[in-house]
Amino acid sequence: MFTAGIDVGAKAIKVVVLKDGAVAVRRLGLTGFEPRESTLKVFEQALREAGISRKELAFVVATGGGRKEVDFADGEITEVGGAAKGSVFCFPTAKTVIDVGAEEGRGIRCDSAGKVVDFEINEKCAAGAGAFTEAMSRALEMPIEEFGALSLKSTQAIPMNAQCAVFAESEVVSLIHAKTPKADIARAVHDAVASRIVSMVRKVGVEKDVVLIGGVARNVGFIDAMNRSLGFDVIVADDPEYIGALGAALVAHESVSHGRKS
C-alpha cells in the first residue's frame, strides 16, 4: 500500500512516499514563485521514482505553509503536527522537536505517539531562522556550508545581540570593519541564532531527547551552537528537511490503516 506526504515549504517542496509504512522515495524541489506547479512537478518525479501512478496512491496528506495549494490531497496536517509525527517515527525517544527552517523556528513537545502536547513559534523579535544565517554568510562572501564549518574553527566567543536581526546585522558589519577573524564572526552569528531558538524552545520546556529538524539542521555550526546553548547534544535527523513530509505520509498511512479514507 502506497501513501504520500507533501510538504510545501516557503523555499522547498518535499515529497515522501511510503510503501507499507516504510520510506520508499524522497524528493525535493524548489518552491519558487509558482508553488502549485512546483508541487506537481516534484510529486510526479517522486511517483516516477517509486514506479507508481497517482491512482495507486491510497492516501495523500499535505503539510507545510503552502499545503492548501495541494488541492488533490486527501487530508492535511499542520507543519507542527507533521514535524512531531515524523520525528518520533525516526527517534521514538524524542520528547522535544526543534524545527528550524528558512522563515520560522518552532519548538514542539510531543508524546511517544508523535502527538503534539505544546508548541511555540519564534516571535517577531528574533535573529532566528535560516534566512538570517544565510544573509550573514553572504555578507562574509562564502557559501552557507562553509560558513557553518568555519564557525567551528573560532577561538573566541563574541557576544552578539540576539534579539533583533537588524541590530545583529549591524554588529556583524562592525565586526567585519574591525577585522575580526571570520571564524569568530561566524560563531557569533550561529550563537545568536541558536540563542533565539533555544529561548523560544524554553517556553515549551526542554525535555530529552531533543531532535533537530528542518533545513538549518544541516548547518554544523548551528548544531554546535545549539548543543552549547542547551548544554547537551541534540539528535540531528539525517535528512532533516524531509521530516515534515514523512510525518504527513505517516498520517496518510494511519488514515488508511484505520479505515479513515473518505
Binding site: 505553509g65 499542520t78 507542527v80 503534539v116 513559534i121 516571535e123 517577531k124
Partner: protein
Amino acid sequence: MAKAMYRMEPLKCWNKAKEIRQDYYRDYATAHEKGGIRWAGGAWTFGAIPEGLGDDVYSLTSEPYGASIAFDKSFSLKCLEAVEKKGFARDLCSYMRNYWGSIILDRYAFGGKFPKPDFLWQDHICCSHAKWYQVVSDLEGGIPMFCIDVAAGPYHEMNGHKLRYIVDQMHDGIEWLERITGREYDDGKLIEAVHNECRSTSTWAEICVLNKAVPAPLDEKTMYSLYVLGTLKKHSREVADFYEELRDEVAYRVENQIAAVANEQCRLMSDTQPPWGFLKIFRYLEGFGAVSVGSLYTFALIGMWEDQPDGSWGPRKTPAQKGVTIQTRDEALRILADWNMSKPEWQHFYSPHLKSEMMIRIAREWKLDGVMLHYNRGCEGLTVGIAENRLALIEAGYPVMAFEGNMGDEREFDEDRTMSRMDAFMETLGFKMVRA
C-alpha cells in the same frame, strides 16, 4: 457540512447597541453646538465625576476611539505614519498612536475635523496613560488636564489611607473642574452617575456569567460590540438600562439553548485586546466548532465581580442592591473609588500571578478546552506578565496557544501565520475544520 447542533438567532438588541455607540461619538463632536462641554480621557477614567457638571457633558474615551480607528485599516495607517513622522516610536501603545494621528491629521474617525476637548480627565493606569494626554495637550496647543493616580495597590490590600489617596485626588479634581469650566458642581448628578456605573458594570458581569452555559449564548466577537458601551459611558443610565435589557435577552437564549456557534464543540477563552483589524479570526475558529466565550479582558475590564455564596465567580452586588443610599459627595467618591479599585482587570498590574488565578478560575467555571493568548505588542498595560499567565495556565492543565499581534497597528499582525497557528492548535486539541 455537519448538521447544526444548536439553534442560532441574531440578538434583538443588537441595533440598539450600535445606535448608542454612534450617538455617543456624534454627541461628543456636536457638544458645543448645544452649548455643552466635552472632555477626553481613558476608558478607565472616573467618568462619573464630570457628570456633576451638568446634563450636557460629553466624553471621548481614548482606547475605544483608538480601536475604532484600527477597524479602518487605511485611516489607521495614515494616523500611525503621521505619528512616526513626528518622532514617536513605533512600539508605543497603538491606541495612543492612532488617537494622536487623528489629531495630527485633524480628522475625526466619525467624520469631520477632530473635535478638540475642553479639558482632559484621565487616570494613570499604565506608564503611558497620563503621558498620552500630555502629548495630546502638546499637539492641541494646550488643554487643561487633570489626572488621578490609582496605583494604590491590589484590592485585597485596600485600606483607609490608600482609599483616601484616591478620593482626595478626586476631591481636588472636582475643585479643578469647577475652576476650569466655571460651572457649579451638582453632587446629586454625581451620585446618580455612581449608581448607574455600579449597575451597568455589575450587570455586565451577570451577562458574562450567563456564558457559562453550554452552548454559550454569546461569542466573544459579539461581546466586544456590547462591552464597548461600558468603555464609553458606564456611568450613564442609558448603558445601565441597556445592559439590563441585554441580560434578559441573553438569559432567554440560555433557557432556550440558542447558541452563538451552532456547532459548539470546543470552548476557548482569549486574552488581551484582540487585533481589532482582524476579528475574522474568531469567525475562522467557528469553522472548527470553537467558540471563544470571553476573557478576563472582556469580562472584567468593564465588569465588576466578587465571590458568590456558592463559591463561584459572579457579579459584585451594587450599593443599591445592598440598600445603601449615597448622601454626600465624599460617600459617592469613596464608593466610586472602592468600586473601581476592585476591578479584576486592574489587579494584574501588581502581579501577573493574581491574574493567572482569575484566568484559571474562568477556565474552570466556564468549562474551557483551551486558551488563546494574544501577545499584544500594542498594549504594555494588558500584556504585562502574559508570559507568566501562559505558564500558569499550562501548569493548571489548560492548553495555550500564543500568537503575536497588535491591537491597533495592523502592520504587526500576520494573518496567515496566525491562522496557521490556529490550525496547529486546533489539531493539538483534536478538532478538525468542518469543510462546507
